[in-house]
Every structure is written in C-alpha cells, then in structure tokens.
Subunit: 144 residues, 2 copies
Amino acid sequence: MQAIGRHVILEMWGCQNLESVETAERALREMVVALDVNLLDLRVYPFSPVGVTGIAIVSESHLVIHTWPEYGYAAVDLFTCGAVRDPQDAVNVLRRLFKPDRIGVMEINRGQMDLGEHTEVSTNTAPERARPRSRLARTPAYSA
Amino acid sequence: MQAIGRHVILEMWGCQNLESVETAERALREMVVALDVNLLDLRVYPFSPVGVTGIAIVSESHLVIHTWPEYGYAAVDLFTCGAVRDPQDAVNVLRRLFKPDRIGVMEINRGQMDLGEHTEVSTNTAPERARPRSRLARTPAYSA
C-alpha cells in the first residue's frame, strides 16, 4: 500500500510558551527547515484572552499549531507529501521551544492507494526528493 | 473523557472540480456557514501543474482542503472546538461540490483530558454555543 501524504498528529501537554505569537512563528519556521519543505505562506493569529493559531502553508501541504495556554495544551499537525526528512526532526523543534511534559504522536497515511489501480505514485516513506517536478511535492503556481 | 476539540479527517476519491480554486474557496465558505463557525481568514493556493490547497482559519480552529486532481483525490480536515453543528453538514457541502465516488471519514478527539485533573472543559459533543466567551471557541484578539 502506498500513500500520497503522511499526516503526523501531535498532542502536547504541560507546555510552556503557549501564549507567545513569536514562539509559534519560530516553531513553524524551524520545522519548515527541519523538514526541508518549501514555505509558501506563514501566518499566526493571536486569540483573546489567550491562545495562538499558527499555520505554515508549504508545497508539501501544511503545518499547523493551535495552543490552549489555560490547559498547557497544544495540538500540532504536520501534513506533508513528498518530504524526505523524518518528522522526528520537527518534533525535536517542538520539544525545544514548548518544553512539553509529554507528547502523544499518531501518524496517518493520507491518500492511501490500492496499487492495482494506481502505480505511478512513489512511496511516502522514501520519496525521491531529487525529482524537482515530483507530482507529490507540488510546485506553486506563483512565487510567494 | 472530555476533549478540547474534534478533528474530522476526510479522504475523498473519485472527485470532480479538484483543479478549481473557485470550488475550493466556495467549499470552505459554505462549510464555515454549515458549521456555524467564525471565519478569520481564508486563503486558496493553486499549484502547478495541478492541485489546490485551501485553508479557512476560524475561531474554532481550522478547515483545510488539499486536492490532487491527477488522482481524483482530496484530503480534507475539519478541526473545530466548541462548534455546535454536526460535521455531517460540512460533509454534505463537500459531496455536492466535489461529487466524490467515495468518502472515508475518521474522527479524532483532540486534547482529550482526564476529568480528574481538569473539570472545567465542556464536552465536545454538546458544547454550549450560547457562551459568547467560551474558552473553547476563542475570541480573536483582532478583527479580520
């Protein structure tokens, strides 16, 4: 079975810095580097009284952080297709910046295919990053 | 067990209109109405040669669509906290606009808590929308 994308779902508890717009932005930027994905857009939205939503749109899909400082909780999603790096590299960024007491991790294969129908997709475990026009890691139709 | 948010993950195959920026935007706008959530920002990013990413940032978290027209596939995530409507109402929007042959649905509770530690959160199945300052459906710190 092969898939179009991998979706890593993180549940982080006992976190610090959850009220910080700057930390959310830094986490997204450092995860973009750690995952070696192509950043198209990055936005962080503060909430009142507390909490932050941050999103990085990347060619390979998206990274998103939602924080609830009142619970010490952050929900993070890393949805990538064609990214070659281990998502653990992004988790290390989150550990360093938010210092969670514990993290729950779940990974879902997105767009899982029956190979009998579709044979042209490369595996999501070892995609060939060298292909610049991979149909998985798509090229934006504009420059951001 | 209670949770901060609900995250509905949709896998849609055999879809139409996957190359359309307008359809992605319309789907996000109609799902915002169907879910009765508060829209803060909406962006759609076209890819070359094909494919669209669309995201709606809402007070209640986010809605996102990624399309791969070459596979007839779209990945949709509906992450909400404090939304009172049944996510099925949003799925009906997707069915109408993308006409998928089949949809796979999975729902994950995000921020699931041990009630012995945290008792102040309302259930995610029947949150009280009437609370304008609910700690779940957060108020943005700015007007968009």
